[in-house]
Point group: C2
Chain length 329, copies 2
């Protein structure tokens, strides 16, 4: 049944074309072992080549190396080419970076390196998706957070996204597959563990079909969100003056939800952290066709001569960097 | 502080204009007693007239009558005109109607009767809104369910929607206000009680500012949802042929999220129950510009000569009604 579900998902979302090369990201946990096994059994039928990759994050000493050995052995036995990245996550950790966030960043960097002209398949399930949506909700989000984990984005595909963790576990039992404890379940991820082990079981008592309901919500929200992003991008392009400036006369009458999206895009393009209050302030100056806000250190969003643009106070920025350097000497 | 919050909410959402008459819906519980008290203290400043209404649902015998007496006494003491509806909810209950749903329908019918050219203020709080969104999610919803409780719809306003149940309780303590156990908390509402007493406390351990986060999500979702509904309504009108039929050539290339909304609107206009699978089937025949579906007994949605319309099989419907009548004799 998992095999059929995965095949349906691949076809419904046009994830794989005949002749593609798919690299399955395999941690060695039940989800990714099942993913590799299902893709292995589908490669003839759907005419794609299969490879695997593994990231050793070096976060759990000998256990991490054991996982790597496990994946190496499995791929050798199945005669599947394997890419391995050995990353000391702690060496790359930046300020304000959670361990999970840093590991994720490095992992997707590796996927980008090896995934040129290839597809990367990750083992995210409907259970992960449900948890992600709830986590985003609890932490605070707009529609984008309700979209959850995308089934397909650039060259990343997620064939297990409409199957649950139970489906995966049953598949592993039925096919007598060995697996290790999933090394991506970093123990410091307090919120996800609480959602997974406390909240979700209670919600499933109320609706045993919770995962399906959340998948449908996430699908509907994704359609809505990408439509609205499209409308916003179009208007932003139309208002663009070509020099990083935007004609406020074209923006000031836009619907609130479109204008909020345009401001969010402007912030992201300029590495300004997106907070609801900063977005609201920026929407306000656009509606007024004048004003200036300071959404983060060294950066200003301002309107002059009916044009909206972002300014960085490089002088102050350099002074601060220099101060930082002097202090660290 | 509750008074300031309520005043801000009223002004931000332009809920009340000078000269308006506001009827507060008062069950006698803490939320509605606080609402009445705050509105009473704001009526001079915001220049509106205040009245109250109470619905005795007759669901808890003497206790229901006690609540009614409590509200009557309070309004007499405050010299506030009071409308009372005495409804035997159980007499009005229809097939497939939950007790809560039926009470709600009757209550809002009463609001409509007394609310002509007046505003009805209900005492829904940010806590209710958060619970409602979670309930909708668990039961299965699209974006519309994430919008939660609207701050304003037609002549219904909800001045407490950005204040929490704790804010209300503090206000009642500080102002030494008496209240009864809220009679709208029908005991058969299993899901809401579970969400309120088990889920929300766990989520608030993860984020103490949960209610604020959910209010912002609900605001953002409402803006998105009403924008998308507007786009859909516009296209539907454009495709309308004036005889309840729609030109499929105008609809078939619409974005998925817009087309789903159009189908949902068509279903609602024709009293067809909205389910995701029926909506999906209908979207499919529109994309194919041909076909016929049977989303519920006696009703068909079909496309003929490139026009989409709903047909009711009246012959079969009458026969069935008649059978039902004969059986009930």
């Amino acid at each position: 049944m998992l095999r059929d579900d995965v095949k349906n998902t691949i076809q419904r979302y046009s994830m794989i074309k005949s002749g593609d090369t798919v690299i399955a990201a395999v941690s060695g946990g039940a989800d990714s072992v099942a993913l590799l096994h299902v893709l292995y059994s589908l490669q003839g039928e759907l005419s794609f080549s299969l490879a695997a990759c593994h990231v050793n994050h070096n976060l759990r000493g000998a256990e991490s190396d054991g996982d790597e050995m496990f994946v190496r052995r499995m791929c050798r036995m199945m005669d599947i080419p394997l890419y391995v990245a050995n990353i000391k996550v702690n060496d790359f950790r930046q300020k304000h970076d959670s361990l999970e966030e840093c590991a994720r960043r490095l992992r997707y960097g590796f996927f980008e390196d090896i995934g040129k002209n290839k597809l990367i398949a990750t083992a995210h399930t409907a259970s992960d998706n449900c948890e992600t949506i709830l986590i985003n909700m609890v932490r605070g989000t707009a529609l984008s957070g309700i979209c959850g984990i995308p089934a397909k984005r650039d060259n990343i595909i997620r064939p297990l996204l409409y199957s649950t963790r139970e489906d995966v576990e049953r598949y592993c039992r039925e096919n007598e597959l060995d697996f290790v404890t999933d090394s991506t379940n970093l123990s410091d991820d307090y919120t996800r563990n609480k959602i997974r082990h406390k909240i979700v079981p209670l919600l499933r008592e109320m609706n045993p079909a919770l995962y399906g309901a959340m998948s449908r919500l996430s699908d509907a929200a994704s359609l809505d969100d990408s439509y609205l992003d499209g409308v916003a991008a179009q208007l932003m392009q139309k208002a663009g003056c070509g020099d990083g400036k935007y004609d406020v006369n074209q923006l000031c009458d836009a619907d609130e939800c479109i204008l909020r999206r345009i401001v969010t895009m402007l912030f992201k393009q300029n590495d300004i952290p997106v907070s609801m209050s900063a977005v609201d302030s920026c929407v306000k100056i656009i509606r007024n066709k004048q004003g200036k806000i300071n959404p983060c250190q060294f950066k200003f969003v301002q309107i002059r001569k009916k044009k909206l643009f972002v300014v960085t106070d490089y002088e102050k920025y350099r002074r601060n960097q220099c101060d930082g350097f002097l202090k660290s000497v």
